[in-house]
């Protein structure tokens, strides 16, 4: 038995029509790892993330989650998704529900837990992301940073084993980025396994255990963020970093 991993991707391929978006992706995420995916837009990093919780279905290759090879024919993907939290660039909070109802929705209606218990845990999560005073407010009344923190609490409410973040700060005004990143940092410090698609190089350097640079559907370079950012081995990585840093 090799070392324990949370999720392992082998030779993953995905196309949209004629567009080959992911090409032979191999990646292994261990428990409590924080991994940052970086790369230009169109490099396939968001698609990779969406394949990890099966919002996109792979064309070929293996996705092994907690020791089990997950296939749509043999597995209930809904059950797998319960254990994989996802945070979106544009939050996607449920606008017809209050903040508290947003966080309670999935434990209540997917896991069918008791309302009292769900409510207590949801309030605890909102306290953790610093939004206790917004429980009964509708999402339209929140700032972008607050929305994203509610979205994080909503995903955590299912007690996932791994959290995926798809450019969680890209839609935020610059002054609101910090509050979301610090919430994510806390989460990382608690040992949550995280895969983060991000353009926040500072966050990647500070929090990530390793970073992955993707280009044109392939993983070009993998390494500790310090090494990757300061001494990229590949010319393409260097060019990308020069353009964003």
């Amino acid at each position: 038995m090799s070392e324990s991993y949370m999720i392992k991707v082998e030779k993953l391929n995905k196309s949209f029509g004629d567009l080959h978006v992911l090409k032979d992706i191999d990646i292994t995420v261990k428990e409590s790892d924080v991994v940052c995916l970086i790369g230009a837009s169109g490099s396939g990093k968001s698609t990779l993330l969406r394949c990890l919780n099966f919002l996109e279905l792979k064309d070929s290759g293996n996705i092994i989650f907690e020791g089990e090879k997950v296939e749509k024919e043999t597995h209930d993907l809904n059950k797998v998704r319960e254990k994989v939290g996802m945070v979106f660039q544009h939050f996607h909070l449920f606008p017809h529900m209050t903040v508290l109802e947003n966080v309670m929705e999935a434990p209540l209606h997917v896991k069918k837990l008791s309302k009292d218990q769900v409510k207590k845990e949801a309030q605890e999560l909102l306290r953790k992301v610093g939004l206790s005073d917004k429980e009964n407010v509708y999402p339209s009344k929140l700032s972008g940073g607050q929305k994203q923190r509610v979205a994080i609490a909503r995903a955590l409410a299912m007690k996932p084993d791994i959290m995926l973040f798809d450019e969680p700060t890209s839609a935020l005004d610059p002054e609101l980025v910090g509050e979301v990143l610090s919430t994510m940092k806390e989460l990382a410090e608690e040992g949550m396994t995280m895969v983060v698609v991000t353009h926040e190089m500072g966050f990647a350097k500070e929090v990530a255990d390793w970073a992955v640079y993707m280009h044109d559907g392939r993983i070009v370079e993998v390494g500790h963020p310090e090494d990757l950012f300061n001494n990229p081995k590949e010319e393409r990585t260097k060019n990308f970093l020069d353009s964003v840093l």
């Binding site: 606008p95 017809h96 209050t98 929705e105 209606h109 509708y138």
Partner: protein, 215 residues
């Protein structure tokens, strides 16, 4: 003054007609909402055969006059011992269902795709996400056109007079022919319709305001 006297003399009969008009419309639209929802789901099912079935239904309704549909339902259903009231209700429901299907299809498809994805990412089945996340938002968005459709149905129910239902319009034309004074009773019945539509518009506005509390 003459008109006012006529109005006062006839109001008990007109109120009965108004009640029947309201019943016809309310029951028909209630049923039409379920028909509409059903065919809206067929339209968005992405299963070709089901989409075709919905397309054919909508084509038939839009392509033929309502009065023809009402007569077909009337002669067809009363032959099966279904009452006059129910044959008109079902005819109106069949007709309005097609328009309501298009209203629902549009409002469901107008909800951001991210809403479904957010639901699915939390472990919801597509059905649960549709019921808990998409439909509540789609219903709210459908309220203004639904209210509009209800008003159209209310006025269209006057066609039930053609098969002898004693609703508002029939009351008016009956008085008109008995007293050789169509114009007075047509003006009177117009007032009754206006009042019904006004009451209904206010109700729809109230519902919309309540639903909008989260915006």
């Amino acid at each position: 003054m003459d008109l006012l006297t006529k109005f006062i003399d006839t109001y008990p009969v007109f109120l009965k007609g108004m009640l029947l008009t309201f019943q016809l419309t309310a029951v028909a639209v209630f049923i039409a909402i379920f028909i509409g929802l059903f065919f809206a789901f067929l339209k968005i099912s992405r299963i070709k055969v089901l989409e075709w079935i919905a397309d054919i239904y909508i084509f038939l309704v839009r392509g033929t006059p309502l009065v023809v549909q009402i007569f077909i339902f009337y002669f067809g259903l009363t032959a099966l011992d279904i009452s006059q009231f129910w044959s008109v209700v079902l005819g109106l429901a069949f007709h309005n269902g097609a328009y309501i299907a298009e209203i629902f299809r549009g409002s469901i498809q107008s909800i951001d795709k991210g809403q479904m994805e957010a639901g699915r990412s939390l472990g919801m089945t597509a059905g649960l996400a549709m019921r808990r996340i998409i439909l509540p938002q789609a219903f709210r968005r459908a309220m203004p056109p639904l209210g509009n459709q209800f008003i159209i149905a209310l006025k269209d129910s006057s066609l039930a007079s053609f098969i002898g239902m004693y609703e508002l319009f029939n009351v008016a034309t009956t008085y008109g022919s008995n007293e050789y004074d169509y114009m007075s009773y047509l003006l009177i019945v117009a007032v009754y319709y206006l009042v019904l539509v006004l009451i209904f518009s206010v109700l729809v506005n109230m519902v919309e305001k309540r639903m909008a509390s989260s915006d």
